[in-house]
């Protein structure tokens, strides 16, 4: 990204900052934060994501919309007084639906990403540390799950077990751990050869402690970057499942489902049923992609420009 680095203050190496804080050399995390906040796209991404979090979770506290009772007299009203984004075909308020849909999308996104990263980190750490036959078996299992088209399995399971916030999170997360597993394994393979791991072993650390205290914390950068992309992908997956008609049910709302319903009225000119929700999906996913890209640039020392 074309950030303007001339405007950055010089690094205070070896000189006490004016705030009185004694920090001769800034820590890696501080450097990463500085790099991150100097990236314009990252700032846009964080602002957009914050907007959607506030919009979805605090919005409904301020803006009370009727999402319970169908009202056919006020059906498909264009945006206007009382309904800033209009009403849908059943007379429900679109703005209220967008807020609730955002809640569900973000909740599933974060929860699925959490499942994926926990499973992936464990598989990757065990495979990387154990090596040998354990590594081979775990990595072949990872290959198997990488080859099976993810969306197909999610759809089949959504049809069989029904879609709820919990079930979609588990299914999407349960089939997205492969990439983090590979990334964490790669990190662990290099970390485990380092001297501090040998020192920890000599001091009597067991494998579990080694993974928990030494390997995973050092692979944290890779994991944080991946979680961001996982959230984006999970939100997209929910939208896909919803658009095909197998998504969340009342009282939950699925952005993909809203868009699918709205797309039926493309020729009727009910634009407020289509473009606002489409914008919400794209901007949320884009915000997370911006943040993920910027995090990767700032956490990976090799990509850092300083």
């Amino acid at each position: 990204m074309a950030g303007n680095h001339a405007s950055l203050p010089p690094l205070d190496v070896g000189r006490a900052p004016e705030g009185g804080e004694v920090g001769a050399v800034q820590s890696g995390w501080r450097l990463a934060l500085r790099e991150f906040s100097s990236n314009r796209l990252a700032v846009v991404g964080v602002a957009l994501l914050l907007f959607f979090v506030i919009f979805s979770f605090l919005g409904p506290l301020v803006y009370h919309a009727n999402l319970l009772q169908a009202n056919l007299i006020d059906a498909h009203d264009p945006p206007g007084a009382g309904h800033p984004v209009g009403t849908d075909i059943n007379g429900f308020d679109v703005l209220g639906q967008l807020m609730k849909g955002g809640q569900d999308a973000l909740e599933i996104g974060f929860f699925a990403a959490l499942v994926a990263i926990v499973v992936g980190a464990m598989v990757g750490a065990v495979a990387g540390l154990a090596g040998g036959i354990v590594d081979t078996v775990l990595m072949r299992i990872t290959d198997i799950f990488l080859s099976i088209p993810f969306l197909f399995v999610v759809l089949i399971l959504a049809v069989k077990f029904g879609a709820s916030v919990l079930s979609l999170s588990l299914v999407i997360g349960g089939f997205s751990w492969q990439v983090p597993a590979r990334l964490v394994r790669g990190e662990v393979l290099t970390i485990r050869e380092r001297d501090f791991v040998l020192a920890a072993r000599t001091a009597g650390s067991g494998n579990w402690r080694l993974i928990r205290r030494h390997l995973l914390p050092n692979a944290l950068g890779v994991m944080i970057v991946n979680v961001t992309f996982q959230v984006a992908d999970a939100i997209l997956a929910v939208a896909y499942v919803g658009f095909l008609g197998f998504g969340l049910h009342y009282p939950n709302i699925d952005w993909g489902d809203m868009l699918s319903d709205g797309s039926g009225y493309l020729t009727d000119g009910y634009w407020w049923l289509i473009w606002p929700v489409l914008t919400c999906i794209v901007l949320t996913v884009m915000a997370l992609n911006f943040i993920g890209d910027a995090l990767r640039d700032s956490l990976d020392v090799r990509l850092r420009r300083r």
Partner: protein
Amino acid sequence: MTAYLLRRLGTSIVVLIGISIFIYLLLHAIYPSPARDVLGLRASSAAVDAWNKQYGYDRPVIEQYLSYMNGLIHGNLGYSYAENQTVGSLLQERVARSAYLSGMALLIAILVALPLGIFQAVKRNSLGDNIATSLAFILYSMPSFALGLILIQVFALSFPLLSFEASQSTSLPTVIADWRAMLLPILTLALIQVASFSRYMRSSSIDVLAQDYIKVARAKGLPERLVLMRHMVRNASLPMITLIGLSLPNLLAGNLVTEYLFNYQGLGLLFYDSLGKADYPVLLAYTLVGAVFVVLGNLVADIALTMADPRIRLA
């Protein structure tokens, strides 16, 4: 090189067997026996048990898996009781149409993304590069149905140049001839791929441009056009071979959504219809076929890369 290829082949076979085990276990867990579909919902449980016994659905799971495997090896993908047809014939009817849609989309994606990525790398940080990067970012964050809806609104409704529904013909030549109907679905599927392909192509071209052999080519006075044509394009395109292999699962998912959106009678729409009927034999068979396609695609990509890149061949 032979040793590498043999090892690569062995891994693929192990992965294929693993996939068949996973798919069978999933099928067994959610659809243990077709007895209810055959005998009807009002059949007594004794009749169901008898049917299961007669057709071997009461045997241990391993035995059932082995006979499922035996069927697969002999080309038997199962039977759809909802359609009263073998799954194999259902898939066969539609495979050509889906192959045309996805193949054309992949081809167009490569033909657009390769020059675009090279252009962006050569004219780095120019206005054109920034516009292309922004567009790629937006497309990359967009589900394919959203892109499809935008294309329909613009090219089929606002300016009625193209059809908003794909060709409904069952004959492939007619489908191909009806390009007005096929252009939007193909573009929808292609543009989503362009977004990720061009980003990779741009960064791989930037890497190649920094190599010493490019400097040498320039230093000996070769015109820039020849530097790019002879020395950069081929080297920068190598990672694309792997990327195309890795993009196959996305292509399958995009195919499903695009066929649904444009009502195109292909494999994706068959999968969608089968979801509505909870026709698990078809759903899992297509998932299996998709996974096998992905494994073989990646195998072919790796072999092609070995052929194309002497650095790997010698290793």
